[in-house]
């Protein structure tokens, strides 16, 4: 197996380790639109870092943190449903990112790589920063797990029992922003949310507790990324669409199977 492919498998497995629990949390807290907005904002972050010559991860993280603070603190505006606001902000950021990208583009950057990721371009440096980011994300999730689940169930109950709800909530958004900033290079901006939540959606079918769902999502994530990578390698297509298609196909199969079992 070539080094490209070894690196690609390593990167996608690392991705799945944090994506499992993060994706579960995104579903439970109904943050899918928020995740979309963050990852679309990442394109703007990347374009800006190209323009001003700093590391793309810094640019993405900068934009994501601003978004996390802005959306985290403005979540109770009565005028517009948060879904509507995100549905405006998300394509707005994507469009702005595209415009900046066209304005500042250099010859060696290909747009498709940014939109769908370029997992075969992963090098050792990327793997190291991904591993470090992973450690930060997972240690946060493990340390705050009980608080996070409590917040998903009832913020009032969590507050009465003495959890610092506001802090944990905003820290979760930071962690999500960090993870997206670190992985946008390998998975792209367009399919990021789908890649995060698909394993957790599949795992939901086989889980009675939140812990089981999160752990199972890691396993499912590793399996579908490996299948997706093999497909992408054999047919020479981008990895992220291949992984997403694999996940969606499995979900459809599972639903059809459930219908059949009900009918019998």
């Amino acid at each position: 197996m070539s080094t490209f492919l070894v690196n690609a498998f390593a990167a996608s497995s690392l991705f799945s380790f944090a994506a499992g629990p993060l994706g579960a949390m995104i579903i439970w807290r109904r943050l899918a639109f928020f995740g979309d907005t963050l990852s679309h904002g990442a394109l703007l972050g990347m374009s800006l870092s190209l323009a001003f010559n700093f590391h793309p991860i810094m640019g993405i993280f900068f934009i994501s943190v601003i978004l996390a603070i802005f959306l985290g603190y403005s979540s109770n505006s009565p005028a517009l449903a948060s879904e509507t606001r995100l549905a405006i902000l998300s394509p707005g950021l994507l469009s702005l990112g595209m415009i900046c990208f066209s304005l500042f583009k250099r010859v060696r950057f290909n747009l498709e790589g940014y939109l769908f990721g370029d997992i075969l371009a992963v090098n050792i440096q990327d793997l190291v920063s991904l591993l470090l980011g992973e450690i930060v994300v997972l240690s946060f999730l493990i340390k705050q797990w009980k608080a996070l689940i409590n917040i998903c169930i009832s913020e009032d109950l969590a507050m009465v029992e003495g959890y610092n709800v506001a802090r944990v909530r905003i820290m979760f958004l930071f962690i999500l922003a960090l993870f997206i900033a670190l992985t946008v290079k390998i998975m792209g901006v367009l399919l990021m949310t789908a890649l995060l939540i698909l394993p957790a959606v599949l795992a939901r079918n086989f889980s009675k507790t939140p812990e089981r769902m999160a752990l199972l999502a890691i396993g499912v994530g590793i399996i579908i990324t490996i299948i997706g990578l093999c497909i992408s390698n054999s047919y020479d297509i981008s990895a992220a669409p291949a992984i997403v298609t694999t996940g969606v196909t499995l979900i459809i199969l599972l639903e059809v199977l459930k219908c059949f079992r009900k009918a019998i």
Partner: protein, 240 residues
């Protein structure tokens, strides 16, 4: 006295929700707040719980006061799989887990998913969760909601029992204007301001009581009649 509110005001979006509300809760006291929907009962509870800050007035709590809270309802997103046991384990306090589970009689529900419980079962689970912290003050927001009349009786009995075992004060909210917990030491009728307050026994011997409420168990449920010391205008603005 474990908690007192002094002339508490709360205003949101230019609407007065609570006005000049003063009350005290002593240890082991059972205080019932009744009032119509939208009277500000839940807001008052949230101020007591420290979940929201009043726009005016003072709250005095004893520093070591431990509060258990049973919310009006619990909506867990169906995407979050969770069993009753795991839900109770999420509490910070676990040392009385087994005693409370048997006291509230939910042993048989522990392995069930929280999504398939009946109204009465869910209320018991929420009560158990509130009790895990061994509270000095138990705050119950409409504990009878979604529970049938038999379930209501047994839930009220259960509340009396745990109150005796734990020796805690209880602050209970109900939108039912006709029945309050018979053991209430104090009943407060709230409609943005405190309309009237008193003991439920004061009305228990009222001639209409036997006539209206025979068939119900007066040891668990008691009627509460309102002593109005002022009149309300038809216009929602109050006269001073």
């Amino acid at each position: 006295m474990i908690l007192s509110l002094d002339k508490v005001f709360y205003q949101k979006n230019n609407k007065i929700i609570l006005e000049d509300v003063s009350l005290t809760i002593s240890s082991q006291e059972l205080v019932t707040i009744i009032g119509p929907n939208g009277a500000g009962k839940t807001t008052l509870l949230k101020i007591v719980l420290g979940l929201i800050t009043p726009t005016g007035g003072n709250i005095v709590k004893s520093t070591s006061l431990k509060v258990g809270y049973m919310p009006q309802k619990l909506h867990v997103d169906p995407s979050l799989p969770i069993t009753v046991k795991r839900f109770l384990e999420l509490s910070r306090y676990q040392d009385t887990f087994h005693q409370i589970v048997s006291a509230v009689n939910i042993n048989h529900l522990l392995e069930n998913s929280i999504h398939i419980l009946s109204g009465g079962e869910l209320q018991r689970i929420l009560l158990a969760r509130a009790l895990l912290s061994k509270p000095d003050l138990l705050v119950l927001d409409e504990p009878l909601q979604g529970v049938d009349i038999n379930g209501q009786m047994s839930l009220y009995k259960l509340i009396s029992e745990v109150r005796q075992i734990l020796g805690c004060a209880v602050l209970l909210v109900s939108h039912d204007l006709h029945f309050v917990h018979a053991a209430s030491d104090k009943v407060i009728c709230l409609n943005h301001h405190i309309c009237c307050a008193g003991k439920p026994e004061e009305v228990q011997n009222h001639p209409n009581y036997q006539l209206l409420f025979t068939g119900y168990r007066p040891d668990v449920l008691a009627p509460y009649a309102h002593h109005h010391d002022h009149h309300h205008d038809v216009n929602p603005k109050r006269e001073k």
